[in-house]
Symmetry: D2
Subunit: 374 residues, 4 copies
């Protein structure tokens, strides 16, 4: 399956930025999941561009369910959700015409799709495709929330400015994640958030863009999810996170911070806490041997600065076969981190619903997992 994620629960993505619609088919959902339009709208809002630090393109982002929903509940049949593309300024994009945009998929798309790709607005490579992912993720988050699982992300770093680190102890971490989910600009330290936004605006003024680090954490997970090797939780989640446009690195727990350490500093000693097995530290980010150990799963993704910048750039004109200077117009995000955090949350939720459904079956989604264990 080329454009499908999942095993027991699957998401198939489709759409082009300026085509009729973008959408996704979700298969393997249990019947009887209440669809909560307010929560979906809330998640879509987290992703939506807003204010001066984002693109001026504003979509209503209204999710239509073409199938799989009846009387407000999932039916258990394949659920197709779509978002119509309304606010499309194709002219802005065709202006760049035969000039390859650096850092973009213009060239690679033309090589893969042999010139038949829809170039308008980035076509299938547009960030617009993350809208159905967030909608799918909203449904998954509801499923997980009913099982006591919390997911949240923050801008750990943006334009070189750091946010306060996530708490490492669990009730505090869950509380922080819950708060982050209510914030439009997802930082713990609001002063740092102000600084980041100023840095984004400064980059915009310079016709430039910025990147940074997203940190996502998941609490409430039982131990024992995932597979060794190919189906490791790291493999599943990294594949999903690398599907987020602009992500170029993913790490779990200490991640690249492990490199200079010695084993005696890196290992997480096991301890008993109220009769439960926990680890004293969480350097491994909740995962040993690819499988959840009951500690919070913590991962970080780096997003490169948005490639669409107004600054003149050297590139190639594929029609004339000459070097040329490209000057981009149109509506672009000087930073995507504050929007991509909604996609990160969604990706984590999608991955987890698949992992749970593999272990406990589709009906786990609405039923009781503990009863299924021997």
């Amino acid at each position: 399956m080329k454009n499908t994620f999942g095993t027991a629960f699957t998401v198939t993505l489709f759409g082009e930025s300026h085509g009729p619609a973008v959408g996704a088919v979700l298969d393997g959902l249990a019947p009887g999941i209440a669809i909560n339009p307010e929560f979906i709208a809330h998640e879509m809002d987290k992703r939506r561009a807003a204010g001066a630090i984002s693109t001026a393109r504003q979509e209503a982002d209204e999710v239509e369910f073409l199938s799989g929903v009846y009387n407000g509940f999932t039916t258990g049949t394949p659920l197709c959700l779509t978002l119509r593309n309304a606010n499309t300024h194709s002219k802005d994009y065709t202006r760049t015409g035969h000039l390859l945009r650096p850092g973009h998929a213009d060239y690679t798309a033309s090589q893969k799709y042999l010139g038949f790709e829809d170039p308008r607005g980035g076509g299938h490579f547009s960030g617009r495709l993350t809208a159905p992912i967030v909608a799918a993720g909203a449904i998954c988050r509801q499923i997980l929330a009913a099982h006591g699982i919390t997911i949240g992300s923050h801008l750990a770093q943006c334009a070189g400015i750091n946010d306060t680190p996530l708490p490492t102890t669990e009730p505090e971490l869950t509380e922080t994640l819950t708060q982050l989910n209510t914030r439009q600009f997802a930082v713990i330290n609001k002063a740092a958030g102000q600084e980041m936004q100023q840095a984004i605006l400064a980059a915009k003024q310079d016709q430039d863009s910025v990147g940074g680090l997203l940190e996502t954490a998941i609490t409430g997970l039982p131990a024992g999810l995932g597979e060794p090797f190919f189906g490791s939780v790291e493999s599943v989640l990294s594949a999903l996170f690398f599907s987020i446009p602009a992500v170029k690195g993913v790490e779990f727990g200490l991640g690249f911070g492990f490199a200079p350490l010695r084993g005696s500093d890196a290992n997480d000693p096991f301890v008993l806490q109220n009769g439960q097995i926990k680890t004293q530290t969480n350097h491994n980010g909740g995962l040993n041997g690819g499988i959840t150990n009951g500690m919070p799963v913590v991962l970080r993704a780096v997003l490169k600065p948005t490639p669409s910048i107004a600054k003149p750039q050297n590139t190639v004109n594929v029609a004339t076969g000459t070097q040329q200077v490209l000057q981009l117009h149109g509506r672009h995000d000087p930073c995507v981190l504050h929007r991509a955090r909604a996609v990160a949350d969604a990706m984590a939720a999608i991955g987890l619903v698949d992992l749970f459904s593999q272990r406990y079956g589709t009906l786990w989604q609405t039923g009781g997992a503990p009863h299924c264990t021997v």
Copy 2:
């Protein structure tokens, strides 16, 4: 598919460290691939423990083909390769008994497999499982080599000591990779390699272990491989690399180095070189929008220090439900980087054969890709 990688070409892994055998089934191989036992042995040697810096466990690592090979060529039917487990000191491992080894999968395995897992030597979580991966990778590397594709890895950093960076221009890079493939300890700078080995021995003497960074590069790839989103080359390769035991982070191109940059510094300008479209820099590691752009693919993986250390560690005894001190005996690697590089090479090769086979069909493996394009 839980323990299977791939779409058009698949690898299914099986085995336990101290069970009868470890192995893999390769499906989707073209008929007529010449099996080169010398090359397979060479790759197995790269992975094999050797000398004081590695475990004392020595396996013959003889690959037996149970199916799919006839008269020295692949038949095109599923190829099952196995390696018998001979040199097993189960006693060493059972000594730790009910004491959970920190940083290991003992606890997570028991939660996932409910106590039915084979604990001897790490069972299915053992590094021994990477042997069939390397064997599978060797066959894939031969396929790719016939299409002019070179893969190689080096220890970019080990125990905090850096190797010389890979060359960025292509003929030099290919040459360096070719040389690295002949070295038992894969570094460009032999002096740095000496230092690393001394640091490994020092850690061993301290009953401790070290980690580091593996850097893998691939040259000779055409533009247009991979899928947007879920099937991006980053998604495919990261899922494979996170299947390598101890890997806790993966990055492409500048990776985490992108975080503080601005777009104008991060973008790779397109240029014409001898009529071919290339990028002036390769910050994106050969990938735009998840798809190869014809530049070398470059990725780095961080490996945490080996969790098996002789130093006493605090942990939990699951039989008595008490805290206890664990002192590990047995044969352990104070460092796995110099062995894991063979696994990294194999994983890259496996992923690429699948990507090519999806695009050009199974028969591409022995035939001519260019003829298949429209």
Copy 3:
């Protein structure tokens, strides 16, 4: 993947009879396939209800491409096609309310979907779901036609009346299939067709329905397609044909006619015809060991009589838990064979595009297969 068919080329089906739309996502299509709206409309017409022998429900059956098509060609990205549901008389269907319709999926759907299924018009189990299959099949048929492959079906038997058998020699068979594709009521013998239609009307008048046999043949296939065992052409095509509502049996070549024969009568002797290896007879329906042998593939499917009949039937009222008599109203087909033949053609085409794409790659669809072989 629960509701997805395929490996290299996949079709994911969604929709409910009286929901907003039915549709399918096609993934693994090559870029550059010309979309021919006339041909798609022609195939939709073959499936559409028409005249007294069909349901009175008339849908415009207009296929909308939400993605994957640009400037009249496939882009190579996932193609989502939908058909809006307009002409829905939900009232007719809800009239049966809590009375289980015999021969239908009312009861099984309620057990699988736990009461959350959309019951209107059969919901996801409606024959309406075959509309996107026919649309998908139309695209696949175009791909196959460009490679010289012809698919056609006829009502081999309907209401107990037999059509003339298909010719067994290839140029005649191809010609017959081509003619059948132009006929609204797909029979070779028009007199037999008249008789069948009279029998259908007679059944309708008796508030009853009829079934029969569809025979599908495929010419122009090369030898060597398919896999042994699980991926045999018989396995792939039978799985697709059993997905056609009402199909309860599938056979290839002599099929059930093989039972009383001896090997010496059943085997197809190999012969040389103009230097090509052929079989003298085609008892095996073009398939040996699950793989095409270059002879026409011939299969038959039995369709049970439409379960929706106006005649009173005994059943259970699930609300009251009592036996009751059900009298169905609404628009029903006294026979579905003449419509289902379009679905049979589509299913065969979908299966073949997947088999070819596995062997020769996605790009085979628009390019030249022979160049890909070694």
Copy 4:
């Protein structure tokens, strides 16, 4: 996945008749399933050739578990089982050399595998490959038996001689299936069985072979298993049954007997039996809309007469490119039905374990499904 069956539970088949071994990898088994060597041996015995009516090739059929089993229980990791090939008379087979055996896969294999296939003993196409299927099925049957599900098959027809039909009421049917599972020659009517065996011997004496019908039934299934369309129980089971060598047709319930009926005769009226919803008749073979309805699942497969016959046959010599007469030597089965019934049982069991595991999760296999429903 080409040579793999399944979604939540998968079986990957490998091996050649005269290669080192045949085997299968089972993935998605729960940990903690007790491996019962006696029961596996019993199933292998059912499949094994025995007496004058079978091939003279006798294999020990000893199943070795290379992985996934520890202390007599499944571990939950991929289980690789193998059977070494010992009793191979390759000379017998190579005698036919370049003469294509009619009804066999010699020609299609050479076209698919381009001459690299292992021709000895039919290679990967050999009936020998059904041995690991039966072993895998034995494990699945144990899982199902613990959930009260019974599977059994009989030779409904052999060489034109009919067995007594299966009982249609459930306790009687279950009892009959249980008895059939203890019989080496699986018929209800022992006199008919004697007649069949005489007919087989008569065919053998005539250097010929016979075919017939296998009927398989499953009792104890809950309603609600399966998917509409592509994942229908008919699609899943037919794909598996068409993977059995020699099967050329599969039908459910009345199957091809539906063709001449009217809806009023074909529909199964719903009735209440002790408060449970059942159908009065079972024409649909336990399946409506592709989903189990709680009645016994009943299916029939036709097996063509064994293609290997000693009688001289016309064929083509591919080396000389001439017509020639083939006279087969070696050990052949004049009939495979009495052996194939073990494969039919195994295929049904494999399919059901996947269907259950999709719905209730992998852990259902050892735990309690009812607790998992909402």
